[in-house]
Symmetry: C2
Subunit: 349 residues, 2 copies
């Protein structure tokens, strides 16, 4: 089978390869006569021509390839649909600009390999770092590389000085607490497993001038995300035993909230009226629960937007060779559903 190249098209239409190239690339700097342009596009379609990317990249001196780096591939599985929503949008945004995305891992037992493969070689035009625990040593390698890079949805201390796209969780949680306060709630408990979320909750309570009673915080340790909902269900006794002490519960994430709600419902406690529950992540949307069946009031993290922003910032950096923004913080959005309502036995405002 004969290879279809620019030359093939050129010969067929009786123009030069460069003219064909200009048409293919939609080159704005020089105008091509309508008739030739039509003929070329026609031939391209007919012969099913597609450019050779290796040749194009060689000529342009780039790889048209971007790396998405994680510590372990499994990590992406553990964070479930979260990371994927971001990844999908990064991929799509890059694709539109002719870049492909490779998901790779940091080989913890071979940091030199990582250095060579990802950073010094021209295998990738840019690198995106996903969330995950990275060592200080790895971070040093990353920082010292010349390649355009960006961090998404992560707050590793070691990657501090690299441009990043993150969300304003504190503001999101503060608005959630503010909403509960407006609904008459004063005593709000934290239920979950994450110390970082607990800290954000504490700040949000302070931001709302509500007292943060440590006695209302429940924690448990969970090995992985798969067991989270389950753990929340099992540990719900912690909530049940203290029901008189609060009217609202802020859960570290939606899985935790769903597990808790299940247990409360079994105990005939009406979530939404007798007690208000807020989660974090808008997991019902990610899990494709039909819109009218979604129940949980939650804080939506703009993952699509994060993906797009990340890709766009990186594209700019790859074009200009300089970083634009130190950190782009995207707002979270409170989504009010049926798991919250007016506080019946609560304090007045």
């Amino acid at each position: 089978m004969q290879k279809i190249t620019l030359k093939t098209i050129a010969e067929k239409v009786k123009v030069s390869p460069s003219t064909v190239s200009r048409v293919i690339r939609n080159d704005r700097t020089c105008y091509i006569s309508k008739s030739k342009k039509q003929a070329i596009l026609e031939a391209v379609r007919k012969l099913n021509y597609a450019p050779n990317f290796a040749a194009r990249n060689l000529a342009l001196g780039k790889s048209s390839n971007v790396a998405f780096v994680l510590c372990r591939l499994c990590h992406i599985g553990e964070s479930g649909p979260f990371t994927f929503k971001i990844l999908e949008n990064i991929q799509e945004t890059l694709r539109r600009e002719g870049y492909s995305l490779s998901v790779i891992t940091i080989p913890h037992d071979n940091l030199n390999g990582f250095r060579e493969i990802c950073l010094s070689r021209k295998l990738y035009d840019g690198i995106i770092f996903g969330s995950g625990v990275i060592s200080e040593e790895t971070a040093d390698i990353i920082k010292n590389s010349e390649i355009p890079k960006i961090v998404v949805d992560d707050n590793s201390p070691f990657l501090e000085n690299i441009p990043r796209v993150i969300t304003d969780k504190e503001e999101g949680i503060t608005s959630a607490i503010s909403y509960l306060k407006k609904m008459g709630h004063r005593k709000i408990a934290f239920y979950g497993h994450s110390t970082s979320m607990l800290e954000l909750f504490r700040k949000a309570m302070i931001n709302n001038e509500l007292s943060f009673d440590k006695k209302l915080d429940f924690r448990f340790s969970s090995g992985n995300i798969y067991e989270l909902m389950f753990d929340a269900y099992v540990n719900a006794t912690l909530v049940l035993e203290n029901l008189s002490k609060f009217t609202g519960v802020f859960c570290a994430n939606d899985f935790v909230a769903l597990g808790l709600i299940q247990r409360l419902t079994e105990k005939k406690i009406k979530v939404g009226s007798e007690i208000s529950i807020i989660g974090f992540d808008n997991i019902e949307e990610l899990l494709n629960v039909p819109e009218d069946e979604r129940f949980l009031t939650t804080i939506h993290k703009p993952r699509e937007k994060m993906g797009e922003e990340t890709a766009e910032l990186l594209l700019k950096m790859m074009k200009n060779g300089r970083m634009r923004n130190r950190a782009k913080k995207l707002p979270c959005r409170l989504i009010i559903r049926k798991s919250t309502g007016y506080c019946k036995g609560g304090d007045e405002k």
Copy 2:
């Protein structure tokens, strides 16, 4: 910053670029004098040289890129650590041969795009199809493409005639049932959500000349893998209410088994002595549970091996242009842990 190319090295060592190329590629067809080889490798190291892949690919007429295709990226998240174990091994095997792997999705709203991007263009040298639901239309596109391709861990009816690497689940389950039978169990229930697993269980019972009592099968519908363990815990009443009817339970997968065990343990039923439970997937290993803490007797699916085999078969096909094996079926392995034991009140053998 000056670009380091073959030529740079060649000039520095005072040899020709092709000699350098031969050393870099470790070309077995021609021997290079020790002294020159040493000098070249030394210079490569010092100047931190790395080959330009675009140039290499252009010269070789290939992309050195393989696609791993899924319907949606989220799918990989939903199947959790399962697919990743395979993916990691595919990636590693391909990497050793100089190929990189791109994880891509089938854009369900743009099949022509899929056709063009993945199949007719030379963007990928080969394609690996992961598990997931694909339409007949998509399958047709795939079948009609010239590109070397392989299916892994999937049994879509539409991709029937494409080479594949799968596991022999039936044989695995049969050996599990056989083991239970040897331990004195005669009445074994199926607990789970998957009709395909139920069918395999049925066959395995028949293979072991055990009667398959439909009354012992429990099912529930689950939206996604995250809720599976939880669902299994909640639905365990189905098992509890019928305890007298069986001595062993085969669970559709390990998450289901773990949820069930949790509930049984709460009810003071001793798993392993009073009742035997077998799962499927060896999830405790995937979740990095320490070896001595693993409890569940399960059927191990050789994911590492599947990844390697898949990559190796594809590499062969890319080299020879022909498919070698229609279907490679890898054996599963029964792993006996503490959740199973002798049947105390069971029939004699």
